[in-house]
Symmetry: C2
Subunit: 258 residues, 2 copies
Amino acid sequence: MATSGIEERGRVLSSDRSRESSVRGQVYRLLLRDIVHCEIKPGQSLSEKEVAASLGVSRTPVREAFLQLAVDGLIDISPQRGTTVARISTRQVRQAQFSREVLERAVLAVASRQVTAEGGGKLDAVLFAQRQAAAAGDYAGFYDADELFHAELASLSGFDAAGRLAGGARVHLNRVRWLTLPEFHRIDTAIVEHEKIASAVKAGDAGHGDQVLTAHLRTVLCDLPAIRERFPGYFDRDDEERPALPDTTGLMIGWRAG
Amino acid sequence: MATSGIEERGRVLSSDRSRESSVRGQVYRLLLRDIVHCEIKPGQSLSEKEVAASLGVSRTPVREAFLQLAVDGLIDISPQRGTTVARISTRQVRQAQFSREVLERAVLAVASRQVTAEGGGKLDAVLFAQRQAAAAGDYAGFYDADELFHAELASLSGFDAAGRLAGGARVHLNRVRWLTLPEFHRIDTAIVEHEKIASAVKAGDAGHGDQVLTAHLRTVLCDLPAIRERFPGYFDRDDEERPALPDTTGLMIGWRAG
DNA sequence: AATGATGTATTACCATGGTAGTACGTCAGT
DNA sequence: ACTGACGTACTACCATGGTAATACATCATT
């Protein structure tokens, strides 16, 4: 019998109505978090019925959460067969990294041209929160602040939709990043890079910001082989068969106002 | 009583199992098409019950299709109030255009570096189909070929996920583009631009391709004010209140291999 | 007449039952 | 021993019923 990753039976869902209160949304966010944090492991099977029973809700909202997670690419639903957590695909990680890099670099270029004191202050506030989370060893808090930092950059540029799109691509990177954090000591370097990016933006130095941001976003590619070595069961096996992606590490993007 | 845009009662859904055969998927694609083609008008209200009755299916798959369309940003679901087709937001259009432009230009730069004869042939095949659809006055066919052309470019670059992401952004542009087609004579110019892009890619001339592609993708911005003037009821009213997006028309992106 | 309370209709949300399709263990036939 | 058919258990899918919350028309009150 397949066992659900959610083991506390009757675990009560939040009853406060501050955020989106629908049962569907709560189940979705809960499963999303558990998957990204690898508490539900890649390849593990999920079951509408079991998850519903574990959470003390009916199958309908669980099913709807499953459907969204499938669209996100985090689970695979096989009709009349079953549902499993998608394994990490190195190809997909590279693809997602490319999309994210392209979007965030463009956003940064725009943000650098029109930064305000208020916007810079927001960046600093997020950085402060991130440093605090790091000092407390709060991985989840660090992660949330990381997302907020990049979202704030997008907001500064005015193209927050591009930030949300980059966030969508990011979903495929998050599990690798999550596994990387305890393994290496990426937290401190990430914060330093964020600080460099923030000051470059505030100084309007798009070129330097682009350089640091690009390197910052590509760390996931550097860590990927080691993580794959460390957790081979979490990864797709047919990655090498598929055509390799072009090498874009040398592809420089120069943004200039014309 | 709110009337559904789907008026043929008992309209039978396809029973062939070639494409995704789930009722949910069929309802989703049908509603998506009708919304993009403005057969269901922006602002119009939808009802699970009515759509289900019109299509002769139960409310569950209709509801699931609604949820996905809401995530796509094409409908607004208000719990216990009702569901309406989202109006077109000019701000959202500009945001989506930005994301799409950024992604597709990056994809084109990569594709230009590694085009093969086979890949060029695929582009030509799509262009041939598109010319045929245009000659037959088949808007829908023209549209499908258009999507296929840009997807093929992404595939050529190896970063097809970026193409899918751009396609997701495209959803917000499609209604404007669909309204534009009969209004102006954009079909012929679009094909000519596609041909120029294809030959630039095949020649490995990334610079020229980028120039044409950028202009090609920005036509929607040029047409937007006229369409808004022509169909004021289709658009959001609070667009002007929100902060204007930065002017990026002068922002040139130079892609070069380092 | 203007306003507040209330009843009613409608909505999306959640719960649950039934069904078709798949996987897999069992067993008969070779 | 090996292979094939068959039956059982399980799955996600679809259908349907009940419920809380919202909107709106109606009516009592000021």
